[in-house]
Protein backbone atom coordinates (compact mmCIF):
# COMPACT_ATOMS: atom_id res chain seq x y z
CA UNK A 1 0.00 0.00 0.00
CA UNK A 2 1.18 3.51 -0.78
CA UNK A 3 0.75 6.12 1.96
CA UNK A 4 0.62 9.73 0.85
CA UNK A 5 2.03 11.80 3.67
CA UNK A 6 3.60 14.90 2.07
CA UNK A 7 7.30 15.59 1.71
CA UNK A 8 7.93 17.20 5.10
CA UNK A 9 6.35 14.32 7.05
CA UNK A 10 7.91 11.31 5.27
CA UNK A 11 10.68 10.94 7.86
CA UNK A 12 8.32 11.25 10.83
CA UNK A 13 5.82 8.76 9.45
CA UNK A 14 8.66 6.41 8.57
CA UNK A 15 9.79 6.56 12.20
CA UNK A 16 6.22 5.98 13.42
CA UNK A 17 5.82 2.91 11.18
CA UNK A 18 9.15 1.51 12.34
CA UNK A 19 8.12 2.03 15.97
CA UNK A 20 5.00 -0.11 15.37
CA UNK A 21 7.30 -2.98 14.31
CA UNK A 22 4.48 -4.86 12.59
CA UNK A 23 5.39 -8.48 11.82
CA UNK A 24 3.21 -8.46 8.69
CA UNK A 25 5.37 -5.76 7.06
CA UNK A 26 8.05 -7.02 4.65
CA UNK A 27 9.47 -3.74 3.39
CA UNK A 28 8.98 -0.01 3.96
CA UNK A 29 10.12 2.27 1.13
CA UNK A 30 9.96 6.04 1.60
CA UNK A 31 10.13 8.39 -1.38
CA UNK A 32 9.63 12.08 -2.08
CA UNK A 33 6.09 12.40 -0.67
CA UNK A 34 4.94 8.83 -0.13
CA UNK A 35 5.81 5.69 1.80
CA UNK A 36 5.30 2.23 0.33
CA UNK A 37 4.47 -0.48 2.86
CA UNK A 38 4.84 -4.00 1.49
CA UNK A 39 3.34 -6.94 3.32
CA UNK A 40 4.44 -10.57 3.40
CA UNK A 41 0.89 -11.64 2.55
CA UNK A 42 -1.95 -9.71 0.94
CA UNK A 43 -4.35 -11.26 3.45
CA UNK A 44 -2.85 -9.07 6.18
CA UNK A 45 -3.83 -5.88 4.30
CA UNK A 46 -6.97 -5.24 6.35
CA UNK A 47 -5.33 -5.51 9.74
CA UNK A 48 -2.29 -3.42 8.75
CA UNK A 49 -4.52 -0.74 7.23
CA UNK A 50 -6.40 -0.66 10.51
CA UNK A 51 -3.17 -0.16 12.47
CA UNK A 52 -1.96 2.58 10.10
CA UNK A 53 -5.14 4.57 9.60
CA UNK A 54 -4.84 6.59 12.80
CA UNK A 55 -1.06 6.62 12.86
CA UNK A 56 0.42 9.93 13.99
CA UNK A 57 3.77 11.09 12.64
CA UNK A 58 6.43 10.85 15.31
CA UNK A 59 9.67 12.76 15.08
CA UNK A 60 12.82 10.92 16.03
CA UNK A 61 13.81 12.34 19.47
CA UNK A 62 16.68 14.81 19.16
CA UNK A 63 18.93 12.63 21.30
CA UNK A 64 18.45 9.64 18.96
CA UNK A 65 19.11 11.52 15.73
CA UNK A 66 22.07 10.01 13.96
CA UNK A 67 24.28 12.49 12.15
CA UNK A 68 27.22 11.75 9.91
CA UNK A 69 29.80 14.16 8.58
CA UNK A 70 31.08 13.83 5.02
CA UNK A 71 34.45 15.37 4.14
CA UNK A 72 33.87 17.21 0.87
CA UNK A 73 36.29 18.66 -1.65
CA UNK A 74 34.52 21.43 -3.53
CA UNK A 75 36.15 20.74 -6.89
CA UNK A 76 33.08 19.95 -9.03
CA UNK A 77 32.92 20.74 -12.75
CA UNK A 78 29.67 22.68 -12.37
CA UNK A 79 30.66 25.12 -9.60
CA UNK A 80 31.00 27.99 -12.09
CA UNK A 81 27.71 27.15 -13.83
CA UNK A 82 25.86 26.95 -10.53
CA UNK A 83 27.38 30.23 -9.43
CA UNK A 84 26.37 31.88 -12.70
CA UNK A 85 22.82 30.53 -12.64
CA UNK A 86 22.24 31.41 -8.98
CA UNK A 87 23.93 34.81 -9.17
CA UNK A 88 26.27 33.80 -6.34
CA UNK A 89 30.02 33.57 -6.17
CA UNK A 90 31.66 30.14 -6.10
CA UNK A 91 32.63 30.75 -2.47
CA UNK A 92 29.03 31.58 -1.60
CA UNK A 93 27.80 28.40 -3.33
CA UNK A 94 30.27 26.35 -1.29
CA UNK A 95 29.39 28.14 1.94
CA UNK A 96 25.65 27.58 1.40
CA UNK A 97 26.14 23.91 0.49
CA UNK A 98 28.35 22.99 3.41
CA UNK A 99 26.56 25.26 5.86
CA UNK A 100 23.26 23.39 5.69
CA UNK A 101 22.06 20.37 7.64
CA UNK A 102 20.62 17.67 5.45
CA UNK A 103 18.44 14.66 6.01
CA UNK A 104 18.15 11.56 3.84
CA UNK A 105 14.61 11.70 2.50
CA UNK A 106 14.84 8.45 0.56
CA UNK A 107 17.18 6.29 -1.50
CA UNK A 108 16.69 5.69 -5.21
CA UNK A 109 18.47 5.55 -8.57
CA UNK A 110 21.22 3.16 -7.46
CA UNK A 111 22.11 1.27 -4.27
CA UNK A 112 23.04 3.72 -1.52
CA UNK A 113 22.09 6.85 -3.52
CA UNK A 114 20.38 9.09 -0.98
CA UNK A 115 18.17 12.05 -1.84
CA UNK A 116 19.12 14.61 0.84
CA UNK A 117 16.70 17.41 1.67
CA UNK A 118 17.69 20.64 3.34
CA UNK A 119 19.36 22.28 0.34
CA UNK A 120 19.30 26.06 0.56
CA UNK A 121 16.53 27.41 -1.74
CA UNK A 122 19.10 29.67 -3.42
CA UNK A 123 20.88 26.56 -4.73
CA UNK A 124 17.77 24.81 -6.09
CA UNK A 125 18.17 24.52 -9.86
CA UNK A 126 16.65 22.22 -12.49
CA UNK A 127 18.82 19.34 -13.71
CA UNK A 128 21.38 19.93 -16.41
CA UNK A 129 19.77 20.19 -19.85
CA UNK A 130 21.54 17.01 -20.93
CA UNK A 131 22.87 14.39 -18.53
CA UNK A 132 26.52 13.41 -18.39
CA UNK A 133 27.20 9.89 -19.59
CA UNK A 134 29.56 9.36 -16.68
CA UNK A 135 29.61 10.98 -13.27
CA UNK A 136 32.52 9.75 -11.12
CA UNK A 137 32.07 7.75 -7.95
CA UNK A 138 31.88 10.01 -4.90
CA UNK A 139 30.67 13.07 -6.83
CA UNK A 140 28.63 15.48 -4.70
CA UNK A 141 25.82 16.99 -6.73
CA UNK A 142 22.63 19.04 -6.54
CA UNK A 143 19.34 19.13 -8.46
CA UNK A 144 15.93 20.49 -7.54
CA UNK A 145 15.45 20.41 -3.76
CA UNK A 146 18.06 17.68 -3.25
CA UNK A 147 21.76 17.11 -2.85
CA UNK A 148 23.30 13.65 -3.29
CA UNK A 149 26.54 11.67 -3.50
CA UNK A 150 27.03 9.22 -6.38
CA UNK A 151 27.87 5.81 -4.79
CA UNK A 152 29.33 4.48 -8.06
CA UNK A 153 30.27 5.96 -11.41
CA UNK A 154 27.09 6.26 -13.45
CA UNK A 155 25.31 8.52 -15.89
CA UNK A 156 23.79 11.55 -14.19
CA UNK A 157 22.11 14.88 -14.83
CA UNK A 158 22.82 16.66 -11.58
CA UNK A 159 25.16 19.65 -11.10
CA UNK A 160 28.52 18.56 -9.71
CA UNK A 161 29.78 20.66 -6.81
CA UNK A 162 32.46 18.44 -5.33
CA UNK A 163 33.67 15.01 -4.39
CA UNK A 164 34.31 12.75 -1.41
CA UNK A 165 36.27 9.56 -0.77
CA UNK A 166 33.61 8.10 1.52
CA UNK A 167 32.32 4.63 0.56
CA UNK A 168 28.57 4.98 0.17
CA UNK A 169 27.62 1.36 -0.45
CA UNK A 170 29.53 -1.79 0.42
CA UNK A 171 27.75 -5.16 0.37
CA UNK A 172 30.59 -6.66 2.47
CA UNK A 173 29.42 -4.58 5.44
CA UNK A 174 26.16 -6.59 5.36
CA UNK A 175 28.11 -9.82 5.93
CA UNK A 176 29.55 -8.22 9.09
CA UNK A 177 26.05 -7.52 10.38
CA UNK A 178 26.20 -3.83 9.44
CA UNK A 179 24.19 -1.76 7.03
CA UNK A 180 25.67 -1.94 3.51
CA UNK A 181 24.54 1.63 2.93
CA UNK A 182 26.13 4.64 4.62
CA UNK A 183 22.97 6.65 3.96
CA UNK A 184 19.54 5.50 4.98
CA UNK A 185 16.23 7.33 5.24
CA UNK A 186 16.10 9.64 8.24
CA UNK A 187 19.87 10.00 8.72
CA UNK A 188 21.19 13.57 9.15
CA UNK A 189 24.15 14.56 7.03
CA UNK A 190 26.61 17.46 7.18
CA UNK A 191 29.31 18.30 4.68
CA UNK A 192 32.62 19.65 5.90
CA UNK A 193 35.05 21.23 3.48
CA UNK A 194 38.36 19.37 3.37
Amino acid sequence: MLLEVGSHLVADYLHAIEQLDLPEVADVVPAAETILVRLHRASAMGSVEFRLQDLEPSAVPAGEQRTITVAARYDGDDLDVVAAETGLTVDEVIALHCGARYRVQFCGFSPGYGYLTGLDPLLQLPRRPSPRTRVPRGAIAIAGPYTAIYPTASPGGWHLLGSTDVTLFDPARYDLGQSPSLLEPGLQVRFVQS
Binding site: L2, V29, A32, L36, A42, F109
Partner: protein, 283 residues
Amino acid sequence: MIEVLDSGVLATVQDEGRIGFSAWAVSPSGAADGPAYRLANRLVGNVPGCAAVEVVLGSIRLRAHVDTVIAVSGAPAPITVGERSFATGQAIPVAGGEVITVGWAPAGLRTYLAVRGGIAVPPVLGSRSTDTISGLGPDALAAGDLLPIGNDVQGLPAPDQVPLHPIDVAPVIDLVPGPRLDWIDENSKSVLVSRSFSVSDKVDRIGVRLSGPRLVRSRTGELPSEAIIRGAIQLPPDGEPIVFGPDHPTTGGYPVVAVVAERHAHLVAQLRPGYTVRFRWSR
Protein backbone atom coordinates in the same frame (compact mmCIF):
# COMPACT_ATOMS: atom_id res chain seq x y z
CA MET B 1 32.18 -27.26 -10.88
CA ILE B 2 30.16 -26.57 -13.98
CA GLU B 3 31.95 -24.91 -16.86
CA VAL B 4 30.17 -22.50 -19.17
CA LEU B 5 31.01 -23.36 -22.81
CA ASP B 6 28.48 -21.03 -24.45
CA SER B 7 26.27 -18.61 -22.53
CA GLY B 8 23.81 -17.93 -25.36
CA VAL B 9 21.81 -14.70 -25.48
CA LEU B 10 21.84 -14.02 -21.73
CA ALA B 11 22.24 -16.42 -18.86
CA THR B 12 22.35 -15.29 -15.24
CA VAL B 13 22.43 -16.91 -11.81
CA GLN B 14 19.16 -16.32 -9.95
CA ASP B 15 17.55 -17.29 -6.67
CA GLU B 16 14.75 -15.75 -4.58
CA GLY B 17 16.47 -12.35 -4.78
CA ARG B 18 17.16 -9.56 -2.28
CA ILE B 19 13.98 -8.85 -0.41
CA GLY B 20 13.80 -6.03 2.11
CA PHE B 21 16.57 -3.77 0.76
CA SER B 22 14.40 -1.43 -1.33
CA ALA B 23 14.85 1.45 1.11
CA TRP B 24 18.57 1.46 0.13
CA ALA B 25 17.59 1.45 -3.55
CA VAL B 26 18.47 -2.22 -4.04
CA SER B 27 16.13 -3.96 -6.49
CA PRO B 28 14.65 -7.31 -5.46
CA SER B 29 16.08 -9.13 -8.50
CA GLY B 30 15.68 -12.94 -8.33
CA ALA B 31 14.23 -15.45 -10.78
CA ALA B 32 11.76 -13.73 -13.12
CA ASP B 33 9.54 -16.82 -13.41
CA GLY B 34 9.45 -17.85 -9.76
CA PRO B 35 7.27 -20.97 -10.13
CA ALA B 36 9.46 -22.36 -12.94
CA TYR B 37 12.66 -21.69 -10.97
CA ARG B 38 11.22 -23.36 -7.85
CA LEU B 39 10.08 -26.39 -9.83
CA ALA B 40 13.58 -26.92 -11.26
CA ASN B 41 15.02 -26.79 -7.73
CA ARG B 42 12.42 -29.25 -6.42
CA LEU B 43 13.08 -31.70 -9.24
CA VAL B 44 16.75 -32.03 -8.30
CA GLY B 45 15.96 -32.20 -4.57
CA ASN B 46 17.40 -28.81 -3.63
CA VAL B 47 16.66 -26.81 -0.53
CA PRO B 48 14.31 -23.96 -1.51
CA GLY B 49 16.24 -20.81 -2.39
CA CYS B 50 19.17 -22.56 -4.07
CA ALA B 51 20.54 -20.57 -7.00
CA ALA B 52 19.86 -21.80 -10.53
CA VAL B 53 20.65 -20.54 -14.03
CA GLU B 54 18.09 -18.38 -15.83
CA VAL B 55 18.54 -18.70 -19.59
CA VAL B 56 16.94 -16.29 -22.06
CA LEU B 57 15.61 -18.02 -25.21
CA GLY B 58 17.43 -21.25 -24.38
CA SER B 59 20.73 -21.85 -26.16
CA ILE B 60 23.37 -22.55 -23.53
CA ARG B 61 26.13 -25.15 -23.32
CA LEU B 62 27.74 -26.31 -20.10
CA ARG B 63 30.17 -29.03 -19.12
CA ALA B 64 29.79 -30.82 -15.81
CA HIS B 65 33.16 -31.48 -14.18
CA VAL B 66 31.62 -33.92 -11.68
CA ASP B 67 28.70 -36.36 -11.61
CA THR B 68 25.56 -34.42 -10.83
CA VAL B 69 21.82 -34.13 -11.49
CA ILE B 70 20.15 -31.29 -13.36
CA ALA B 71 16.57 -30.30 -14.20
CA VAL B 72 15.23 -27.78 -16.68
CA SER B 73 11.89 -25.95 -16.49
CA GLY B 74 10.22 -22.77 -17.68
CA ALA B 75 10.18 -22.08 -21.42
CA PRO B 76 10.46 -25.59 -22.91
CA ALA B 77 13.69 -26.23 -24.75
CA PRO B 78 15.28 -29.42 -26.05
CA ILE B 79 18.01 -30.77 -23.78
CA THR B 80 20.88 -33.04 -24.63
CA VAL B 81 23.35 -34.52 -22.19
CA GLY B 82 26.20 -36.21 -24.02
CA GLU B 83 24.38 -38.12 -26.77
CA ARG B 84 21.08 -38.46 -24.91
CA SER B 85 18.00 -36.24 -25.43
CA PHE B 86 15.65 -35.15 -22.67
CA ALA B 87 12.58 -33.01 -22.16
CA THR B 88 12.02 -30.37 -19.50
CA GLY B 89 10.39 -31.20 -16.18
CA GLN B 90 12.53 -34.11 -14.99
CA ALA B 91 15.68 -34.88 -13.05
CA ILE B 92 18.49 -35.77 -15.47
CA PRO B 93 21.64 -37.56 -14.26
CA VAL B 94 24.84 -36.13 -15.73
CA ALA B 95 28.24 -37.80 -15.62
CA GLY B 96 31.40 -35.78 -14.98
CA GLY B 97 32.79 -34.56 -18.31
CA GLU B 98 29.47 -34.64 -20.17
CA VAL B 99 28.28 -31.62 -22.13
CA ILE B 100 24.80 -30.28 -21.34
CA THR B 101 23.07 -28.40 -24.15
CA VAL B 102 19.82 -26.51 -23.70
CA GLY B 103 18.60 -25.68 -27.19
CA TRP B 104 16.53 -22.84 -28.57
CA ALA B 105 13.20 -22.40 -26.79
CA PRO B 106 10.43 -22.16 -29.39
CA ALA B 107 8.01 -20.41 -27.02
CA GLY B 108 8.35 -18.32 -23.91
CA LEU B 109 11.41 -16.34 -22.86
CA ARG B 110 13.10 -17.85 -19.83
CA THR B 111 14.29 -21.39 -19.11
CA TYR B 112 15.67 -22.47 -15.72
CA LEU B 113 18.44 -24.98 -15.19
CA ALA B 114 18.90 -26.20 -11.63
CA VAL B 115 21.87 -28.28 -10.50
CA ARG B 116 21.59 -30.61 -7.53
CA GLY B 117 23.16 -28.75 -4.59
CA GLY B 118 22.66 -25.32 -6.13
CA ILE B 119 25.00 -22.90 -7.90
CA ALA B 120 27.28 -21.79 -5.06
CA VAL B 121 28.73 -18.47 -6.25
CA PRO B 122 29.32 -16.08 -3.29
CA PRO B 123 26.13 -14.36 -2.13
CA VAL B 124 25.86 -10.56 -2.16
CA LEU B 125 23.40 -9.10 0.39
CA GLY B 126 22.21 -12.63 1.07
CA SER B 127 21.44 -13.50 -2.56
CA ARG B 128 23.31 -15.00 -5.51
CA SER B 129 21.09 -13.24 -8.05
CA THR B 130 22.53 -11.08 -10.79
CA ASP B 131 20.87 -7.68 -10.60
CA THR B 132 21.15 -6.27 -14.11
CA ILE B 133 20.20 -2.72 -13.12
CA SER B 134 22.78 -2.18 -10.35
CA GLY B 135 25.40 -4.82 -11.13
CA LEU B 136 25.08 -6.43 -7.68
CA GLY B 137 25.70 -10.16 -7.60
CA PRO B 138 27.66 -12.23 -10.11
CA ASP B 139 28.20 -11.06 -13.68
CA ALA B 140 26.08 -12.62 -16.41
CA LEU B 141 27.55 -15.97 -17.41
CA ALA B 142 30.29 -15.99 -20.02
CA ALA B 143 32.16 -18.79 -21.79
CA GLY B 144 34.95 -20.04 -19.58
CA ASP B 145 33.19 -19.35 -16.27
CA LEU B 146 33.49 -22.10 -13.67
CA LEU B 147 30.45 -22.26 -11.41
CA PRO B 148 30.88 -23.96 -8.03
CA ILE B 149 28.19 -26.48 -7.03
CA GLY B 150 26.89 -26.40 -3.45
CA ASN B 151 25.40 -29.15 -1.32
CA ASP B 152 22.09 -27.65 -0.18
CA VAL B 153 20.00 -30.73 -0.84
CA GLN B 154 16.96 -32.16 0.88
CA GLY B 155 15.81 -35.58 -0.25
CA LEU B 156 16.34 -37.29 -3.55
CA PRO B 157 15.78 -36.03 -7.08
CA ALA B 158 12.22 -36.46 -8.36
CA PRO B 159 11.67 -39.94 -9.82
CA ASP B 160 9.12 -38.91 -12.45
CA GLN B 161 8.70 -36.33 -15.17
CA VAL B 162 6.21 -33.59 -14.30
CA PRO B 163 4.19 -31.72 -16.91
CA LEU B 164 5.09 -28.04 -17.22
CA HIS B 165 2.50 -25.34 -17.63
CA PRO B 166 2.37 -24.64 -21.36
CA ILE B 167 3.62 -21.18 -22.31
CA ASP B 168 0.70 -18.87 -23.05
CA VAL B 169 1.60 -16.74 -26.08
CA ALA B 170 -1.42 -14.48 -25.56
CA PRO B 171 -1.99 -14.44 -21.81
CA VAL B 172 -4.72 -12.60 -19.97
CA ILE B 173 -3.06 -11.07 -16.93
CA ASP B 174 -4.79 -10.00 -13.73
CA LEU B 175 -4.22 -6.46 -12.49
CA VAL B 176 -4.95 -4.61 -9.30
CA PRO B 177 -5.46 -0.84 -9.46
CA GLY B 178 -2.27 1.19 -9.06
CA PRO B 179 -1.88 4.22 -6.81
CA ARG B 180 -2.09 6.60 -9.81
CA LEU B 181 -4.90 5.00 -11.81
CA ASP B 182 -6.64 8.39 -11.69
CA TRP B 183 -3.79 9.87 -13.78
CA ILE B 184 -5.31 8.33 -16.94
CA ASP B 185 -8.64 9.34 -18.42
CA GLU B 186 -11.80 7.22 -18.21
CA ASN B 187 -11.47 5.93 -21.75
CA SER B 188 -7.89 4.82 -21.09
CA LYS B 189 -8.99 2.96 -17.98
CA SER B 190 -11.32 0.89 -20.12
CA VAL B 191 -8.74 0.51 -22.92
CA LEU B 192 -6.29 -0.91 -20.38
CA VAL B 193 -8.56 -3.88 -19.60
CA SER B 194 -10.29 -4.38 -22.96
CA ARG B 195 -7.75 -3.99 -25.77
CA SER B 196 -4.74 -6.11 -26.65
CA PHE B 197 -1.23 -4.78 -26.20
CA SER B 198 1.72 -6.14 -28.06
CA VAL B 199 5.06 -6.85 -26.49
CA SER B 200 7.71 -4.57 -28.00
CA ASP B 201 11.33 -5.57 -28.48
CA LYS B 202 12.26 -3.69 -25.30
CA VAL B 203 12.09 -6.67 -22.97
CA ASP B 204 14.58 -7.33 -20.20
CA ARG B 205 14.77 -8.09 -16.50
CA ILE B 206 14.08 -4.44 -15.67
CA GLY B 207 10.79 -4.29 -17.54
CA VAL B 208 8.63 -5.08 -20.54
CA ARG B 209 7.57 -2.18 -22.73
CA LEU B 210 4.22 -2.64 -24.42
CA SER B 211 2.97 -1.04 -27.59
CA GLY B 212 -0.51 -0.74 -29.00
CA PRO B 213 -3.30 1.49 -27.80
CA ARG B 214 -2.03 4.67 -26.16
CA LEU B 215 -3.12 5.45 -22.65
CA VAL B 216 -3.91 9.14 -22.26
CA ARG B 217 -3.11 11.02 -19.11
CA SER B 218 -5.94 12.89 -17.49
CA ARG B 219 -3.59 15.29 -15.81
CA THR B 220 -0.31 16.93 -16.61
CA GLY B 221 2.50 17.83 -14.28
CA GLU B 222 5.24 15.86 -12.66
CA LEU B 223 4.89 13.18 -10.08
CA PRO B 224 7.51 13.33 -7.32
CA SER B 225 9.47 10.07 -7.19
CA GLU B 226 7.71 7.24 -5.43
CA ALA B 227 8.39 3.60 -4.72
CA ILE B 228 8.01 1.02 -7.48
CA ILE B 229 7.32 -2.68 -7.02
CA ARG B 230 7.62 -5.62 -9.34
CA GLY B 231 4.63 -5.82 -11.67
CA ALA B 232 3.96 -2.07 -11.46
CA ILE B 233 2.70 -0.72 -14.79
CA GLN B 234 4.22 2.71 -15.25
CA LEU B 235 3.08 5.20 -17.85
CA PRO B 236 5.87 7.37 -19.29
CA PRO B 237 4.94 10.54 -21.20
CA ASP B 238 4.93 8.72 -24.57
CA GLY B 239 1.91 6.67 -23.43
CA GLU B 240 3.50 3.24 -23.88
CA PRO B 241 3.24 1.32 -20.62
CA ILE B 242 6.19 -0.45 -18.97
CA VAL B 243 5.57 -3.51 -16.80
CA PHE B 244 8.39 -3.70 -14.29
CA GLY B 245 10.27 -6.95 -13.74
CA PRO B 246 12.50 -8.18 -10.89
CA ASP B 247 15.38 -5.74 -11.58
CA HIS B 248 13.10 -2.68 -11.53
CA PRO B 249 14.33 0.68 -10.24
CA THR B 250 13.16 1.12 -6.65
CA THR B 251 11.67 4.57 -7.25
CA GLY B 252 10.32 6.35 -10.29
CA GLY B 253 8.68 9.57 -11.32
CA TYR B 254 5.97 8.41 -13.72
CA PRO B 255 2.51 7.35 -12.57
CA VAL B 256 1.88 3.68 -11.76
CA VAL B 257 -1.64 3.06 -13.06
CA ALA B 258 -1.94 -0.65 -12.23
CA VAL B 259 0.05 -3.54 -10.77
CA VAL B 260 0.18 -7.11 -12.08
CA ALA B 261 -1.30 -9.46 -9.49
CA GLU B 262 1.58 -11.31 -7.81
CA ARG B 263 0.24 -14.71 -8.90
CA HIS B 264 0.59 -13.62 -12.56
CA ALA B 265 4.10 -12.13 -12.36
CA HIS B 266 5.50 -15.30 -13.95
CA LEU B 267 3.31 -14.77 -17.04
CA VAL B 268 5.04 -11.42 -17.62
CA ALA B 269 8.43 -13.17 -17.27
CA GLN B 270 7.66 -15.39 -20.26
CA LEU B 271 6.48 -12.58 -22.59
CA ARG B 272 8.49 -12.48 -25.75
CA PRO B 273 8.65 -9.63 -28.26
CA GLY B 274 5.66 -9.92 -30.60
CA TYR B 275 3.37 -11.72 -28.15
CA THR B 276 0.05 -10.09 -27.35
CA VAL B 277 -1.23 -9.56 -23.86
CA ARG B 278 -4.56 -8.55 -22.42
CA PHE B 279 -5.32 -7.37 -18.91
CA ARG B 280 -8.32 -7.67 -16.65
CA TRP B 281 -9.01 -6.46 -13.15
CA SER B 282 -8.35 -9.11 -10.55
CA ARG B 283 -11.34 -10.11 -8.48
